[in-house]
């Protein structure tokens, strides 16, 4: 409480003081030019201190050796590309990207369109949105119970195994089985992300004028044709923003993998690999190199995202 008061009071005092200084000492003509910068400066300073400098430092460290003592050029990158576990992380991440983005965006869109047509719309939408409020770690803990595995013959405490053993099947080690575990993890993220996609897409769907749909209906379109030829093109920019936002989120995915499997049994992703290089193996060079690769992967998607935001409607 005290911290909040002091903090926000301090910010107000800072801006007020700076403004008063400029008002008093700057000559009339210059004042208009300086004033905007006075207000921008604190934010810019914070950005430089907490974003720009660390980024530059990370790039620099990625060119040094494990202890950051001597310059090794690109050898961190080269060794990473040669490392099979890094390859596995890349492969899995692409899996994640396609799986989570594809399923949660299309599922979100489907629910948005279908819920739009029923009278009790808020109920399914609330239920699907609910997981959004749960942190990744919290969700992982919940799903740990769902996926829990005990050897055959003993009591199953996991929901999924409880169901399938009661149907007479053998229990499955969802998180250990190499053919399944990545899907099991991806499902968690889909569960978390679909609500977000649905809410944004639903707002966009509601933004389409009713007359447009009626015109299409008179023009002879059936409901499926209306969906693909009118609804989807008209909310294209929202679909793009939702997809890129999800892609960004998935690229950085770490918590779920770390809590559920710690990246073992072939579930490694880029971020969990980075964590391992950095904090388990204490190889700052390689850890930073992974961070830089992640950054490079994120940038083009960021650009698309920001561009779409700048012109929110393509109408």
């Amino acid at each position: 409480m005290l911290a909040i008061l002091v903090g926000s009071g301090g910010v107000v005092a800072l801006f007020y003081g700076a403004n008063a200084l400029v008002e008093r000492f700057a000559p009339g003509r210059l004042k208009g030019r300086i004033l905007p910068w006075v207000y921008l400066a604190p934010a810019l300073l914070l950005l430089v201190a907490y974003l720009v400098i660390p980024t530059v430092l990370t790039v620099y460290v990625s060119l040094l050796d494990a202890r950051s003592q001597s310059f090794v050029g690109f050898s961190n990158y080269i060794s990473l590309f040669a490392d099979p576990s890094m390859g596995e992380a890349f492969r899995n991440n692409i899996f994640w990207l396609v799986g989570v983005t594809g399923v949660s965006v299309s599922l979100g869109l489907l629910i948005a369109v279908l819920a739009d047509r029923v009278g009790y719309e808020p109920l399914p939408k609330t239920l699907i949105f609910l997981p959004m409020a749960i942190s990744f770690v919290g969700a992982s803990v919940i799903w740990k119970f769902i996926y829990a595995f005990r050897p055959a013959g003993t009591a199953q405490i996991g929901l999924l195994n409880g169901v399938i053993t009661s149907l007479g099947f053998e229990p499955v080690g969802w998180l250990v089985e190499r053919s399944l575990n990545n899907f099991a993890l991806i499902a968690i993220m889909i569960w978390l992300q679909t609500g977000f996609c649905m809410v944004l897409l639903s707002a966009a769907v509601k933004g389409i004028p009713q007359e447009m749909i009626e015109a299409a209906r008179i023009d002879g379109a059936n409901e499926v044709q209306i969906f693909w030829r009118i609804v989807v093109p008209m909310i294209r920019s929202t679909i793009l923003v939702v997809s890129t936002t999800t892609v960004l989120l998935v690229l950085k995915v770490f918590d779920i993998v770390y809590v559920m499997t710690a990246g073992n049994q072939g579930t490694e992703v880029i971020a969990s690999r980075m964590f391992k290089e950095m904090f388990s193996f204490r190889h700052y060079g390689r850890g930073s190199a992974i961070a830089v690769m992640l950054l490079l992967a994120v940038i083009p998607i960021m650009v698309v995202n920001i561009r779409e935001f700048r012109q929110p409607t393509t109408r």
Partner: protein, 367 residues
């Protein structure tokens, strides 16, 4: 080209009755205009016919086919919406081609039909633009064009001109009338603008509170309105109404009120016998009140005395507002050369050949 028939059609939205027992037969190649104040049920009628809403009771026929349960796309209709409802992500060409593509027409066919329709509306140069790059008038023409290209049996138009400025509206009005002549199909048009109704319709249907008031040619509706609502709705400035009584004096029927007394023409007197000695409402159109100095020759008139409270010179005519005695006011439309001025106490001349009498209880015309 088929006709359209409404058989005692009723539409209810939960408690609210939007349309009550509508019976209309719309002939082939007719241009029927539905007109009425907001919420009178005119748009509802159009939506029922388009299949965008379902009827609560009654039947709708297009030709011999009962279409109550038929989907919009199978009704062989096209509709122009008030907001135009152009697809924003498609070019003008694609907007027009959309329905043809859905019909499964070949590429060449589509191109030919779109080109022909575009020529008809003068849109050839705009085919590759998106709706957002068009002006309001151009959008309206695209919306009409999108309907033409389908070559439907019935055209439905829901206030298509209400988003245009006055000048464009006049132009678009003549254009739609021209289309009706050229296409030789049935047009059903909804508007709240009586000028559009009078100038475009071959017949006008006037609705009020979901009930059909009168359906007839524009001229018939203007000259013999069936009730007080129709009389007051059609005509601008609106008809003047006077409360009074019908009395018989010296072998002649007179309409008498505090402000004026008018002899009824011999032709109408006969039909009014049973109202003698009873209260009636008399309706006078503003153009039937004249400046005495510019009276058409041979007109039988009665005097109307009042004080001028306001005048509007329109150029081709002068609108004069008067008070007659207490509380009773009246509007007259007089010759443009008239020199009546504000504050004058004047005597104007009423053409007694065109009085409209209404029953004060039912508000039906007495005839």
């Amino acid at each position: 080209m088929p006709s359209v028939t409404f058989k005692s059609v009723t539409k209810r939205y939960s408690e609210f009755v939007a349309l009550r027992d509508l019976d209309i037969e719309i002939g082939d190649r007719e241009f029927l205009v539905f007109v009425g104040p907001s919420g009178c049920g005119k748009t509802t009628t159009l939506r029922l016919l388009a299949g965008l809403d379902s009827v609560t009771a009654g039947d709708i026929y297009i030709g011999d086919r009962r279409v109550n349960e038929l989907a919009s796309r199978d009704r062989d209709i096209a509709m122009v919406f008030q907001s135009y409802a152009l697809y924003p992500h498609m070019t003008v060409y694609d907007n027009m081609a959309f329905s043809l593509e859905l019909q499964g027409l070949g590429r060449g066919d589509i191109q030919q039909r779109v080109q022909r329709a575009a020529q008809q509306m003068g849109l050839e140069d705009l085919l590759h633009r998106k709706p957002k790059d068009l002006s309001g008038g151009q959008r309206q023409r695209v919306a009409v064009c999108r309907a033409i290209v389908r070559n439907p049996a019935v055209f439905l138009m829901d206030e298509p001109l209400s988003n245009l400025d006055a000048q464009l509206r006049v132009q678009a009005r003549t254009e739609i009338s021209r289309l009706h002549r050229e296409l030789k199909s049935t047009f059903i048009y909804v508007t709240h603008d009586q000028v559009e109704a009078m100038t475009m319709g071959t017949r006008i249907a006037i609705l009020n509170q979901g009930v059909l008031q009168q359906i007839d040619t524009p001229q018939a509706i203007y000259s013999s309105p069936k009730n007080k609502f129709v009389a007051g709705f059609i005509g601008s400035p609106a008809m003047n109404f006077f409360d009074g009584a019908l009395v018989e004096m010296t072998d002649q029927l007179w309409f008498k009120s505090d402000a004026l007394s008018l002899p009824l023409p011999p032709t109408t007197s006969a039909q009014c016998q049973r109202y003698v000695g009873q209260r009636v409402i008399c309706g006078l159109r503003p153009e039937d009140i004249h400046d005495r100095c510019y009276l058409p020759p041979g007109m039988v008139t009665a005097p109307l005395k009042g004080t001028i409270t306001h005048t509007e010179s329109m150029g081709h005519e002068v609108i004069v507002y008067l008070t007659l005695g207490d509380e009773q006011s009246c509007v007259a439309r007089v010759d443009r050369r008239s020199t009546l001025t504000l504050g004058d106490r004047v005597e104007l001349a009423v053409n007694t050949a065109v009085l409209h009498l209404f029953d004060p209880h039912t508000e039906e015309a007495i005839s």
